[in-house]
Every structure is written in structure tokens, then in C-alpha cells.
């Protein structure tokens, strides 16, 4: 800055001020004038998705082509916290989209708050599987979400490493599983890795089997006060803690991200990891010559089991400005064309009755598990307080992996958290 007299540094003369204001005003008016567009006579449908634009834009284009009188105003927000926060803000500020995604994490608040429309009588709901629809059915029996697919995660294993050490068939029971882990460890391999920074597939499958064998409705009983987390969780967690004590699984899993685990697998530094359909592309791209396969997680008390759940459901805002256009959008999503396009874009395992997806060869077993109902995810099975219980659960299982908590303590902590949330 040049050295100006103080008066010039601190004051602007009257005409200059007027001139500056005029420039600002002119620019503002000019810019806003430029932004005005010809009026769009089409019905304006607002949609909020947590799938990215790479998935949603082609679907929206196909929908608009089939419905030329509707223009979709698409916005996206990444899952989970940012998406939930965005939807919360829009609901709170009366700018809620006509169509949005309802997930396990917010379904209770959306249904109990009356923010979603009852879709029970809509024809497009007929194609959704019974399980998927039940996931987004409210306590009143009404169906609030259109869920088109499900997912199941299990164990992804390196066939080459296992065969090299004489394991020609993937273990189907707990004893042969631990035997295989020991064989691999003795041979200097890292037998098994998964990320325990979140809730791990291994534990989900074991608790899921226990729940399945007790009729599949234990969580409902827990929330009704007729059962406890301690009763359901202690036995399935115990064998996993023994694996840590025996050194067959490293306690480092509590500090690993999912990406780091997949990276170890791609570089053939680990024999088995837990993974889901979303990992297939990364593994194939990272190691095109790697021979791998999927299998269910072997269990101490029964057949292999999977962790999985129904994918988020599409919902219509109860006060949607364009309810008919919103129903048209969901009808398109549930149509054969819509489901096929969605499946091709996401590789999801769609479960609708009008389309049979081409499943990746490696996902044959997880897909069969979905059809057999042999999968479980506690967070979606819990009717309320999902995030509070999830936070407590992850912290406690990490302590268990480190030997600072027992399997019973994990269940006790969940019971205590539930009691606290219920305000008892």
C-alpha cells in the first residue's frame, strides 16, 4: 500500500462512497439478472439421496425421459452422519425434499415423527421383498420405505494362500476354522484381519446366529424387558475373545480401517478378511490375478452365518409438495428397468421380485444367505437408540479385544446403556 495521508487512508469521500455503492448495486443486479432462467413448466420434484451423483444422475435422466413432465431437482449428501444432518436441517427448515432415503439410523425418528408417507397401498411396494419391507414397517404396521436391495458380508479369503498351506476347502465349523488360523499362523502368515473401528462382521454373524436359533426376535424381547443383552451376547462373543487370547487374531484390529484391511488383502499379506460386496471392485482392480472367494463366518454353535441387512429405503415426505410425482419416481425405481439400472450402477444384490440380478461369481454364497435369511445386523434389528447403543458396543468390544473387558461385560454395558436411554 502506498503511503497516503491519514485522511485518505481512513476516509472515503462522499462521491466515491456513492460511486462504490452504485457499482456494488449494479453488479449485484446484473449478476442476479444473469442467473434468471426461463420458467420451467414441468413439475419440480425434489429428491435427496445418499448415493452419489455417479449413481443417481443416470437414474434421474432415465426417469425424466420416461416422465417428460417432471423435472427432478437432485441433491446428495454422503452417508451417514452428514446425510442425517442434512435431512434434519431440511425437515426443520420446511425445505424437506419430496423423496428421500430412510436408513436404519433415522427410521425410528422419521416414522415416529410422522415425516414419512404410508406406502402400504402403493402398487410399487408389491415388488419389494417381504424382509426388506418389514425393515421399514412402523409399529403401526404401515409400510414407509421402498428398499430394493440387501447386503451380506462374510469372509473373503485368498485361495492361493490357503491351498499353499493345505487348506483346500474353507472351514465350515469353528474347530476347523481355528485349526486353519493356527496352521496359517504357524506358517508365518497373518491368518485373519478385519476392522474393529466399527462393528465387525465376525461378531455380527455370531450374535446373528444366536438370535436366529432363538427365534430371530431376541432384540424385540430385550427392548420389551423380557431378555437382556448379556444373555444374548455373552456366549457368541466368548470364542472370539479366545482367538485374541491365543494370538490367532491381532489386537491391532481395533486400530485398523476397512481400507487398510483391504489393502493388506490386495497385497496378499493376509489370508482372510471380512468383506462385503462393496469390496469386490477394489480387490479386482488392486489385484487382477488374485484368486479369492467369499464364505460365511464359521460359528461355534452352528452353520456359517453372515452380517447383513436391508439397504436403505426410499420414502416420501408426508407433506410432499408433489406427492404424485414422488410416487411416480418410486414407481420408476421399483420397475424392472429402474431396478436393473440401479443394480448395474451399484452392484447391489437386489431382492425385488421383478428382476433377477447378475451376481458376481464371488458373491454366490452371500446372495444365497440373503435368500435364506441367514444374516443379521444388530443396529437395524434394534427398534430405537441405535446410535447410542452402537457407540457403546464398539467401545466395549474394542476393550474386549484388548483384554480389558469380558464378553459378559460387553452385554452388561449394553444393558446399562439401554436402561439409561429408556430413562429408567
Amino acid at each position: 500500500m502506498k503511503h497516503l495521508p491519514p485522511s485518505h487512508r481512513t476516509r472515503m469521500s462522499g462521491p466515491r462512497t456513492v460511486l462504490a455503492a452504485a457499482v456494488v448495486l449494479t453488479t449485484t443486479i446484473g449478476v442476479s439478472g444473469c442467473s434468471s432462467e426461463p420458467a420451467d413448466d414441468r413439475t419440480q420434484l425434489t429428491v435427496l439421496s445418499w448415493s452419489g451423483e455417479d449413481v443417481m444422475t443416470p437414474i434421474v435422466e432415465s426417469f425424466e425421459e420416461a416422465n417428460p413432465d417432471i423435472n427432478v431437482q437432485l441433491t446428495t449428501a454422503p452417508p451417514v452422519a452428514e446425510y442425517i444432518s442434512t435431512l434434519q436441517n431440511r425437515l426443520g427448515s420446511n425445505t424437506a425434499p419430496d423423496v428421500f432415503v430412510m436408513a436404519a439410523e433415522n427410521k425410528t425418528n422419521l416414522i415416529e415423527g410422522g415425516f414419512v408417507m404410508d406406502l402400504s397401498d402403493e402398487p410399487f411396494m408389491d415388488v419389494a421383498s417381504e424382509f426388506n419391507t418389514a425393515t421399514y414397517t412402523g409399529p403401526d404396521g404401515a409400510e414407509y420405505g421402498l428398499s430394493l436391495s440387501s447386503w451380506a458380508s462374510g469372509i473373503m479369503y485368498n485361495k492361493g494362500i490357503l491351498e499353499e498351506h493345505g487348506i483346500t476347502e474353507f472351514p465350515q465349523d469353528w474347530d476347523s476354522f481355528t485349526e486353519a488360523l493356527q496352521t496359517l499362523k504357524d506358517a508365518g502368515e497373518v491368518p485373519f484381519l478385519e476392522s474393529w473401528q466399527g462393528f465387525p462382521t465376525s461378531l455380527g454373524s455370531s450374535v446373528g446366529l444366536a438370535n436366529y436359533e432363538q427365534g430371530g426376535n431376541v432384540d424385540a424381547a430385550i427392548f420389551e424387558g423380557d431378555a437382556t443383552f448379556t444373555e444374548l451376547w455373552t456366549e457368541p462373543l466368548t470364542p472370539w475373545q479366545e482367538l485374541f487370547q491365543d494370538g490367532l487374531i491381532t489386537t491391532d484390529v481395533v486400530g485398523l480401517t476397512g481400507d487398510q484391511v483391504v489393502d493388506e488383502f490386495v497385497n496378499e499379506r493376509v489370508a482372510m478378511i471380512t468383506a462385503g460386496p462393496w469390496n469386490i471392485t477394489a480387490v479386482r482392480e488392486g489385484a487382477p490375478d488374485l484368486e479369492f472367494d467369499f464364505a460365511g463366518v464359521p460359528q461355534a454353535g452352528g452353520d456359517p452365518f453372515y452380517t447383513g441387512a436391508a439397504s436403505p429405503g426410499w420414502a416420501i415426505y408426508s407433506e410432499a409438495k408433489e406427492p404424485e410425482a414422488a410416487k411416480a419416481f418410486l414407481s420408476f425405481l421399483a420397475s424392472e428397468e429402474g431396478v436393473q439400472q440401479f443394480q448395474e450402477l451399484t452392484n447391489d444384490m437386489t431382492t425385488t421380485s421383478n428382476f433377477t440380478p447378475e451376481i458376481d461369481e464371488a458373491l454366490t454364497q452371500p446372495y444365497q444367505a440373503l435368500l435364506d435369511g441367514k444374516f443379521y445386523l444388530p443396529m437395524i434389528s434394534w427398534p430405537r437408540y441405535q446410535d447410542a447403543l452402537y457407540t457403546e458396543l464398539v467401545a466395549q468390544i474394542q476393550l474386549m479385544a484388548q483384554g480389558q473387558a469380558t464378553p459378559e461385560a460387553v452385554g452388561t454395558a449394553l444393558d446399562a446403556r439401554l436402561t439409561q436411554e429408556e430413562g429408567k
Partner: protein, 327 residues
């Protein structure tokens, strides 16, 4: 710079022992040659944008949060019910909040002390003339530029607890040390988060000290040298006292930043193992957004704001007393 150096000397007038002296950063009320009334009006007009920003981004959300803290607002429904102090009573029963409080305090104290210890000598070194000085300054300042969340992700790969992790590979090849569970052991995870926090901010704070350091007249050092003062004596009797205002600013920023920390621990450890690196801000965000308990999250935020305010006020008072003693 010598006594004959033609460069203008910017001499900071430090506060007096009583702390009531003229502050060197206080602008004169009326520059000579201009109308005092007109200047005041212009200066007030300059304040309008920042006042608008303050009201919109701070005052209104603050009042709103205080109101929500007395309600059952869940973030979804606009209908809220007044529930008195129930949210405040529930705040301290949350185990994640109590765990978050202890690590937040540990992180704040750890980073504040370590960054001060490292940043001040670094500033002294960076103030000396040497080849490539500006480049070295830029290198040390660089960690402050990228998003902390991105740095957290990068450090997550460096501190990968497996043998294939970047740091563990280095340690193994150089010293034959086995894999160190940087992020999978509770104590090491806490230390790792603090070390990365120190790494990201030391350069920035050293530049802050450097700015103050450059305003110390070289005459003081020359006189001290003539009197036979050693380098250590010059540091403790000239540099350190005259850097006290910089320390006050640095500590204020470190304390407030440390108490509010969220992104770095979350990207490195997600708050684990267990609750060992859980922070207060993580609890507020989880309560408010993920658990749809905006009312309770707001109560925690209000309590936290008051605690931060008290800590910062105490820290400023202590710093000013310290300034008065050493100046």
C-alpha cells in the same frame, strides 16, 4: 541489523508491571489531519460486516442453543416442549461424555505445553539468517495448511499398527523394532493423537512467535552482548520476556482449539480404542446429529462453552500476570 541499520525499528511497547500500560497494538484514536467525528463513523461502518457475521453466526445460534438446552428438541420436529433442567441432569450420566472430558483435557494440556516448548526455540532458529531460510519457514508452516481431517487420514496410514505401516516398516528396517501398536493400544493412541496435533500446529505457532520476535529491537541484544551476557542469558532475559504477549495469544489459541478438538482424533482413531481418544465435541455431535438428542447436545454445548470461557479467562489472567512479572 546493527545500530546503523537504516530499516525502521518497530518497538513494541509492552504492558507495564501492573498490566495497565499503553498497549502497542492500540490504534491512535484520531490520526492527525482528519476529522475525529468522521473517522469514528468510518471506523464504526467498518465494524458493521463483522457485527453482522457475529450476530448471524454466533449470537443467534448461541441463544438458540441455550433455548434448545431446556427443550426436548430432537432435530427433526419443529415442535418442542420445555423440559426444564432435565437435559443438564442427563449430561453427566453419559459414559462417553465423561471419557471424552478426560481425553479432551489431556489433549489440550499436552498440545499446549509441547507446542510451546517446540515452537519458541524453532522461532528463534528461524529468525536467524541462513541459506534457504524462507524455504525452511514454509516447510514448517506447511502442516497448518491442509485440512486436519486429511492430515488425520494420512497419519492413519503412517501410524498403521501392522508391520506394513509406514512408520513400523521404517522402524523395522532401521532398528529391527517390531510392529508398534500406535493406534491400537489405548495409551499409545492417545500419545499418537497428541504427537500428530503437535506436528500440525508447531510450525504455525512458531511463525506467530517469529512475528513477535522480529519486533524485538536488536539494540537490546547488542547491549547485552557488550555486558557479557551469554546466549542462554539473552534468551531468558530478553527474548522470553518480550515474547510473553505472543505466548498469551498462542496459549489462548491452543487452549480453545484443544478443548474443541474433534476432527484429528476422529479421523485417526474414531475415538477408540474404547473411549480412550473420545472428545467432548464428538459427544456433542453424536448426541445432536446421530442420536437425535439436540436438546441434550445443546445442554452439553452450553456447559462446555462456560467451561471453556472460564478456562480461557483464567489462562488470560495468569498470562497477563506472568507478562507483568517477567517484563
Amino acid at each position: 541489523m546493527t545500530l546503523t541499520d537504516p530499516r525502521p525499528v518497530v518497538t513494541p511497547k509492552m504492558s507495564t508491571r501492573s498490566g495497565r500500560g499503553t498497549r502497542w497494538w492500540r490504534a491512535p484514536s484520531s490520526p492527525s489531519g482528519s476529522s475525529p467525528g468522521g473517522n469514528r463513523l468510518t471506523l464504526r461502518l467498518f465494524l458493521v460486516p463483522v457485527i453482522i457475521v457475529f450476530i448471524v453466526l454466533f449470537a443467534i445460534p448461541l441463544v438458540q442453543s441455550i433455548w434448545w438446552s431446556f427443550t426436548d428438541f430432537n432435530g427433526y420436529s419443529a415442535e418442542t416442549n420445555f423440559i426444564g433442567l432435565r437435559n443438564y441432569a442427563n449430561v453427566f450420566s453419559d459414559p462417553s461424555m465423561l471419557a471424552g472430558l478426560s481425553f479432551t483435557i489431556f489433549f489440550t494440556l499436552g498440545t499446549t505445553i509441547l507446542i510451546t516448548i517446540f515452537a519458541m526455540p524453532l522461532a528463534v532458529v528461524l529468525n536467524r539468517a541462513f541459506l534457504g531460510r524462507n524455504f525452511v519457514r514454509a516447510i514448517f508452516f506447511f502442516p497448518a495448511i491442509p485440512s486436519v481431517a486429511i492430515l488425520g487420514l494420512v497419519w492413519g496410514f503412517i501410524l498403521n499398527p501392522l508391520g506394513s505401516g509406514a512408520l513400523n516398516s521404517l522402524l523395522s528396517s532401521l532398528a529391527g523394532i517390531g510392529p508398534v501398536p500406535w493406534l491400537s493400544d489405548s495409551t499409545l493412541a492417545q500419545i499418537s493423537v497428541i504427537v500428530v496435533g503437535v506436528w500440525t500446529s508447531t510450525g504455525w505457532h512458531s511463525i506467530l512467535y517469529l512475528a513477535f520476535l522480529q519486533s524485538i529491537p536488536s539494540d537490546y541484544y547488542e547491549v547485552a552482548r557488550i555486558d557479557g551476557a551469554s546466549a542462554i542469558q539473552r534468551f531468558f532475559y530478553i527474548t522470553l520476556p518480550l515474547l510473553m504477549p505472543a505466548m498469551t495469544v498462542s496459549w489462548l489459541l491452543l487452549m480453545t482449539g484443544g478443548l474443541k478438538v474433534y476432527d484429528l482424533p476422529f479421523t485417526l482413531t474414531r475415538g477408540g480404542p474404547g473411549y480412550s481418544t473420545f472428545t467432548i465435541t464428538q459427544t456433542i455431535i453424536q448426541n445432536g446429529v446421530s442420536q437425535a438428542k439436540y436438546g441434550q447436545a445443546s445442554a452439553l454445548a452450553v456447559i462446555f462453552m462456560l467451561i471453556v470461557g472460564i478456562i480461557v479467562a483464567a489462562q488470560l489472567t495468569l498470562s497477563r500476570r506472568l507478562e507483568g512479572k517477567v517484563s
